[in-house]
Symmetry: C2
Subunit: 454 residues, 2 copies
């Protein structure tokens, strides 16, 4: 009999899980439940759609009809899963059901890909018209409609989404203020010295910043009229919360699944869930709802990236269909394109490293992306971080005019392989051609500086 696989959630994790399950088992009955109206789109693209560089339809790769026809996957949209059950009775029988839209469905394997929720601080006024998050196409379209009648926009949160959005909105002529509680942009994953030039660049483009300032309330009678930013009233027509994502564990809590100290689901290397310390063999987890293992220091981390969700989904989906793939620990490389600037990072920032109690040493160098005698070379600054005791590379950040992504993927490979700074200098090589690189990449100068500081 065909295996019944149910996937809850249609983000990068859920849809790759469904497709991977289909690839692993041509006969399974695969059903995806989602509260969303659209599936298989790129939420990361929303700032660029608002700026007019792509269309809403353009960022939706496939619709439910495509999944039905091409992959024999049933996608049930705009439907909340009210409950999910995986209960073992004393006699060993296990009840495995999902109830959604008033109907109850049995499953053999379940993939929980319920994703994350934008954290909105518990303050007054967040229910007013004019308060938005950037998470779905539907929400993005509502935001866009509201934006058309707005001029002043407050963005709460100076993470990469907040900054990408801020630039998109000043680029279309809006008056944008970013309000950030911490004392730097891109807090947590970027170090202050790497983040500062990004803030300066955005200020040059007209974005206003209020740093070390919490949003303490949204003010308005029938709609947003201002925000209370650290006691100061900042008039605005709308507020966008880009204040980070928390694991959406509502359903998992209901099922009694185990969570880690970061409030996300604990998983086995095969991405199976736990319940009271015991592996739940037929419940798989993927995406923003799960806790990961760090590839750098022993211990937990979150990897709420589209790329991680995609990878986790492929593994959880294949395993739900009977495979035994493992999900490795993560360095979580990331990159953000802010106009002419690219900022990227991997592994530990100094802030993240301190969470592990690590003592780190840094190295830094600035140079060109290409041979300096080749036209249009851009500047790049590379920062590398190593553990003072082991000398292992534990993190890197790059701020560059171009091609930061490949370099950060390169450094990620070195970090994941446990390469020390000295080994990196001895054994690493970079490809060279004047229009695309230097004979010796700036990455080496940064690691050399690090070795001097060790």
């Amino acid at each position: 009999m065909a295996k019944k696989i149910i996937v809850i959630g249609s983000g990068a994790a859920g849809m790759s899980a469904a497709s991977a399950a289909r690839a692993a088992d041509p006969d399974a009955e695969i059903t995806v439940f989602t509260e969303d109206r659209d599936v298989a789109y790129s939420p990361c693209m929303i700032p660029w759609v608002l700026e007019g560089r792509a269309t809403w339809n353009g960022i939706i790769m496939h619709d439910p009809a495509w999944y039905a026809k091409e992959r024999n996957i049933k996608v049930i949209t705009e439907t909340k899963v009210e409950s999910a059950v995986n209960d073992r009775a004393r006699d060993g029988t296990v009840t495995k059901t999902v109830t959604a839209g008033g109907k109850t469905y049995e499953y053999d394997s379940l993939v929980l890909a319920t994703g994350g929720k934008v954290f909105i601080p518990p303050i007054e006024g967040t229910q007013l018209p004019g308060v938005f998050t950037v998470r779905t196409v539907k929400g993005g379209q509502e935001l866009e409609a509201y934006l058309n009648k707005s001029q002043k926009v407050a963005i709460a949160g100076a993470g990469v989404i907040g900054l990408e959005l801020a630039l998109a909105l000043v680029n279309i002529g809006k008056d944008v203020t970013v309000i950030e509680m911490m004392d730097q942009v891109i807090p947590r994953i970027a170090d202050r010295d790497m983040a500062e030039p990004v803030q300066k660049y955005l200020e040059g483009k007209g974005v206003k910043f209020m740093m070390k300032t919490p949003v303490q309330g949204v003010i308005g009678t029938d709609k947003v009229e201002a925000v209370n930013a650290g006691g100061q009233t900042v008039p605005c027509d709308m507020v966008v919360f880009a204040t980070g994502v928390r694991a959406n564990v509502d359903l998992a809590d209901q099922m009694g699944l185990d969570k880690g100290q970061m409030g996300a689901l604990l998983v086995s290397p095969t991405l199976q869930a736990y319940k009271r310390g015991r592996l739940v063999p037929d419940v798989f987890v993927a995406g923003d709802v799960m806790q990961c293992q760090s590839a750098v220091y022993p211990g937990p981390t979150m990897s709420q990236l589209g790329s991680s969700a995609n990878k986790e989904g492929r593994i959880a989906g294949a395993n739900a269909a009977g495979k035994k793939l493992e999900f490795g620990p993560v360095a979580s490389p990331w990159v953000s394109i802010i106009g002419d600037l690219q900022i990227a990072g991997t592994g530990m920032s100094l802030g993240l490293a301190s969470w592990y109690g690590a003592d780190c040493v840094t190295g830094k160098a600035t140079g060109r992306t290409r041979a300096r005698y080749y036209p249009d070379a851009k500047e790049q600054t590379v920062k590398v971080i190593a553990d003072r005791t082991t000398h292992r590379l534990v993190g890197a950040q790059i701020l560059a005019g171009e091609e930061a992504t490949g370099r950060i993927d390169w450094l990620t490979a070195a970090i994941v392989n446990g390469t020390t700074a000295e080994e990196f200098l001895a054994n690493s090589e970079n490809a060279y051609c004047p229009p695309t690189s230097q004979v010796r990449d700036v990455v080496f100068a940064a690691v050399e500086d690090l070795v001097r500081n060790l």
Copy 2:
């Protein structure tokens, strides 16, 4: 007393050796001898200078006066080293001298960075005016002067230099024919399936190719009038030989230093030379004249790249000044920019792998460089090669519209670390942002295809 360090050769290896020696020893007397007129320039840039994208002066980073003033390094140009001696007498005393320009100099440490010579086949007519190689600024300027009165150019050799030059010359309106002995462009380091689109692209730009055709003679009375290409007379005004580089071992042979099976100097991990199987403690070697160890398969390889020469020079120079740095085995990543195309490779091509008797399996995938919904995404094809027995990644090639370099450096790190195809899929990650990458890079699809083929 100040240590006397002599460097022979002023290419990427020689000049980085001199600078590294200075960094390691502020007091040493450092002298560089070179037959060249200019130093510290990028020979790889010559095609783009001929095309007008940079100037001759622009690609020379420093002149001898700068080295004298800024680094206290004496650079003696246009001077041939007639002999070099490192002879141990029966009583243990060692004679260490270099004779150049009729004068004899003593040294404590010697760095041999005599580079490579363009291999010109032993055929008739190669001494005629109108025959050139692409190796020095001086030679490039002579070539340019001759080019101004020429229309038809034959290029012998379809390696990356030959192809970059061919495109530069058609771009400035010349009639260019590339004559290649093998049956594909970029033979040896690129596989045929990856190289073919490059040839097609160049044909589209007007470059003519004669494949499987040896240049058997240069024809002319007072100057080049044609070449004999496989028996066929091809009229042309000039011929450029880009037929590969052989180690320039003239001086090393005179000194009796040991060579490997590739005709280049054998070196210790510290880049010291050997003589009759015995380490020569005060003779260091760097650049195109030396043989390397492969990072992929046990055995020798050549790594005649600017990036390798730079790295070897730094180590040889520092060690000549008393350090004990080691030069690791090489994967030799390379990249060539051919107009809108970037072709890059690392580790073994199938052709190179066969030289090691290896049995390899390949995987290949084509996709976009960026999220497909982001404007201006380019196509990229990634090919990966693994050993059939160990499953270790041994090589990769990328043909892309942009950003091949970072990806090939990333794959190089995986290859050098001995990563298997399966480990790569489990433990690798790529940074994602729609304007610069896909949520899951094409590299992963290629490795996945490889795993299916294993």
